[in-house]
Subunit: 348 residues, 4 copies
């Protein structure tokens, strides 16, 4: 059954190593090609000691060879930094077009229109053709479109947590009476694995602070994901923990909708395998979704301020990256969406 050969580009990064873990445990996928863009080559478990039990399953990390990826894999995940990743994904997709290779890019490079990308990322976008080839891959919104995609742009971690918080509102999103505020906090793996001064444990331990407020490149991604009319304010904050995103959304919904909100969320979430609406009065914990593809959601109408509050928690490496990428792969291959993702979670 495990006959789909998978390549992972960037397996020593945080999203990449999580993809290795998920692919290794997936009943229909087999790891066949690992490629890095930099210095880390050779046995993967030498860089990542937690993967030692998988050592026999792991191909060595090789310097990236686009042609090899395109010719030997059926599915390639590309998890390099933005600015580099989309180009590689597009090259592999082009080279492997005849063979029908499927490609999922985990970076921001293929998610936005050219002008929006260039404004928010501050660098030239890929050619229009590349951008046009990729489908945005938020299954709760784009399921049908993903099913026949060949290239999927996997959503950003903040964008996923924010969009899932309000997507259950559906067409009510057009009726909000003001901006939607997303006060979002993320664990440090969201910043990537490359060492940087502010990510040093000696700096970040015991600290919490906002960063890139109002400038975060996931802002336009959220606006597009939830509908062009929304005005979004995204506040991003860094947490001294490895994983997890917690979003508090403040939605100025017309007050007459308040009594129907919980039901609306209930019916939306019931249809979704990875959205879990919490009982009224309970709140999501980032720790409860660590290592999974789950999104925990709570909703609350605040009568004092007449605002709807929505809380969502995901693992930024799970539903925010590698888990969602595997969910997208399941859709692209026509398999059950939860295949390989029914993870028994860990209370760390």
């Amino acid at each position: 059954m495990t006959n789909v050969r998978v390549g992972i580009v960037g397996p020593t990064g945080y999203a990449g190593m999580e993809l290795v873990r998920l692919v290794a445990g997936h009943p229909r996928l087999s790891l066949s090609y690992l490629a890095g863009s930099g210095a880390r080559t050779g046995p993967l478990d030498a860089h990542l000691p937690h993967l030692r039990p998988l050592a026999d399953l792991l191909p060595p990390v090789e310097p990236l060879d686009v042609r090899k990826a395109a010719e030997t894999c059926d599915l390639v995940f590309v998890a390099l930094p933005s600015g580099e990743s989309g180009r590689v994904a597009w090259d592999i997709a082009q080279s492997g077009k005849a063979r029908g290779v499927k490609v999922i890019d985990l970076s921001g490079d293929l998610r936005l229109p050219k002008d929006v990308y260039e404004t928010w990322y501050g660098r030239p976008a890929l050619p229009e053709e590349a951008l046009a080839s990729a489908r945005y891959g938020l299954p709760e919104r784009d399921r049908a479109s993903i099913r026949d995609a060949h290239v999927v742009a996997n959503p950003g971690c903040y964008a996923t947590a924010c969009a899932l918080a309000v997507l259950p509102l559906g067409e009510w999103l057009s009726d909000v009476t003001g901006p939607i505020i997303f006060d979002a906090k993320s664990g440090v793996t969201g910043a990537g694995r490359a060492p940087k001064p502010h990510l040093h444990l000696g700096e970040l331990a015991n600290d919490v602070y906002p960063y890139r407020v109002g400038l975060h490149q996931h802002t336009p991604e959220i606006e597009r994901a939830i509908g062009e009319r929304a005005r979004v304010l995204l506040t991003t904050q860094l947490l001294p923990v490895p994983r997890g995103i917690l979003v508090c959304a403040y939605v100025p919904l017309p007050p007459d909708r308040a009594p129907m909100v919980y039901d609306r969320y209930t019916s939306f979430c019931e249809r979704e395998p990875f959205l879990r609406l919490l009982p009224e009065g309970e709140m999501p914990h980032i720790k409860a979704v660590n290592g999974t593809n789950e999104c925990h959601i709570a909703v609350r109408w605040d009568e004092r301020s007449r605002l709807l509050q929505v809380f969502s928690a995901i693992d930024n490496l799970g539903k925010g990256a590698a888990g969602q990428a595997v969910q997208n792969a399941n859709l692209m291959f026509g398999w059950p969406e939860t295949e390989g993702l029914e993870l028994v979670p860990l209370w760390m």
Copy 2:
């Protein structure tokens, strides 16, 4: 010069032990009486090994004797849990009235009118006479009133961080066009030192989550501190760190004020010894104020959402509790407000 004799009730709690540290380093205060309400009596450094260098300065912890406190101290800090603390503070104030004993209560018991207290704290308030005797002690707002107070109700930690974020707006607070949202996060010492299941390191490490949302008892305290017209939504969240509060405030200020906001904050903060307005583009770090009485503030107008964002960071045990209590004591005794509080901070 150190002739003011100080009593601390509750020195083994988090606010109490921080008071011990601050009083020990204060040039005009001397520790003369330590009293606990429970089992922890005897040498304080046996319970708190970091206080060993102070061992010779520390009176033993005795079971609380209100009369002794009232008769032997000039100033008493009461730092017991709410529901117990205000009563003790009031009793000491009554017993020591003739001697002019000054009392600062760090709990919520003396901060609110009777009906508001009973609604939010879910228990009977103290007698009106007790409530009326106490002045609310936020120096940046109540300086004059604190100077001749005999009993001060020291503000709550969240209330301090939220109020300081918007007080510089002054009368503009009357012009906001909607509710003010305070998305607030706190380190665990804000929950007190008594062991509880959810405060176990095995539970809280790696986790972050909202709690008591919309129900937190600091909500009415903030509303009173910033002016009765404000409608406030307070979201409280628990962080896996010992200390620190970070508040992101979202203020619907009329957009025509935007160009003048930074100047307004500048002139307010310049007059205040413990408010520090950060240069534009910088954001407050909770770690930068640990162990101090500082409040770091940043402001930013978000043109996309047309909201004013204000960020404030305090140490919940510093400006949010013990530091502010010492600042209030300085005011009550007519000393320079920064006496004993010019702390050289630690990048932990």
Copy 3:
């Protein structure tokens, strides 16, 4: 295939909740009975939000009924505090004897002879008959004996990490020229989930310290596990992390054995599914074994001091508790020892 019905007594403790996770993912076990000794009854996922995805698989937590456990389960794990757990295990084993119920006790109550237990645990031991009925369950040492056991005393977490560090020495253990030192450090879940002052995150964060040095009740357990002649010094230290034990063992081996040590460890570990000898020069990380049943081991001869150093790392809730309990269950039922334990690990 999943026809062995499992009961777990104590599913809201740390070892118990990890058992729930492992049993839920085990292909031959099905959860049929959950029983608590205290207040936490009802749906387990209400206490443990990370288990929500398993909600449909989880029987409700009931007050313990020994008869029900004995009559409806084929296998019962008992994971209560020492002093309570062994009695319950023994009662269930007695009640279920006719049906051949198998019982695995995770406490210290059934691991030691009466006098040794009473000396180190400071309370009366269970009756000799109970003690005699239980087999000590360290598979790397007791595999044959476990296979036909009905009651297994699952080893302690420190005892497992220490014993596995030196068991590969085999009969060379008789030749050591002095005491064996185990300098051991453990994450906080080893102290149980009941709230205690020193386990509060506000206390333990940023701290590390030794405790119960020379008095830890795993000392005699280690001595018995590695052979009665060994004199053992166990230094136990608390780490501000949820999981993981790291042991540094100092073994006064005769220097002429030095050149053969690595080979000896290699051949021992090759035969063991969960022992992983690291390449020379690499050191074990507690994080690399989190959530697994692995034990990572490194060995090094120190020529300067003429001592053998052995380093071992386990997850105190995995190989140190729940994982090892499942491994023992696999042995008791004659299944492959790795069944349900080939966990794809998580770099937290």
Copy 4:
């Protein structure tokens, strides 16, 4: 009184920023020159937000100018990485010789004889003349010699914690019957502030592991500090906390000394302002010495193994670096040794 002008070279490193804090609070020292070797120049508080309250006291960070340091300062602390720091210290000492400038180097470059340095550090040592000019600065051992030194080599953090654990044994150190084992654990600031992959919070959080075992360059420093006859085994381990070193020392003392050990430690520690022998049965906490120049010590005779156990805890940036450097400065200037170091500690 504050008329000694101080220069700090390397003020944005961990030891350097702690020196800034201590010098700013020292009654006889004034900060007059800050110099970096790299890119971080300009206002120091722009790099280190916790220093904002000191902004008015802080000279800007300039590119290093040896001549300026030598001509404008009375005392210079050099806190650059080993391999660079000693050379700078020596250059400043040479340039400032006529003026009698005093220099304290916090690196390893001036601590060891040429051949030992080259063996353990793997790079050429400084000229013999430079090495000979520097006195090793462990006040508890070298007080007299430090008093008339012009150049002091400040001890390493591990070396300090290990040496202080056993120095109270005095001449008994010659009588040990085997190697002394130091099982040592350190917070991450001991590894410096330069970003490296393994210091990323995403890597080190939740982890603990040994590193450079048997190869750590503090090994020969310890041996020299405690007497050439000792054979030392130093095991160094990394902790996921910012600060603190905990050492467990295992000393094969002749058993007849056991009854006298506690008294011996008592009389030694009583004479030392920064050594604090804990009551029998108590153990040192790294958190209890954070931010101070204290060393907490516990001793215990283990009858089972017939070994003496000594436990010591220091702040690697305090007594292990900046605190000890200030203590040395006090000695060099003939001031009370505790001047500026009577720090009221913080329970973080």
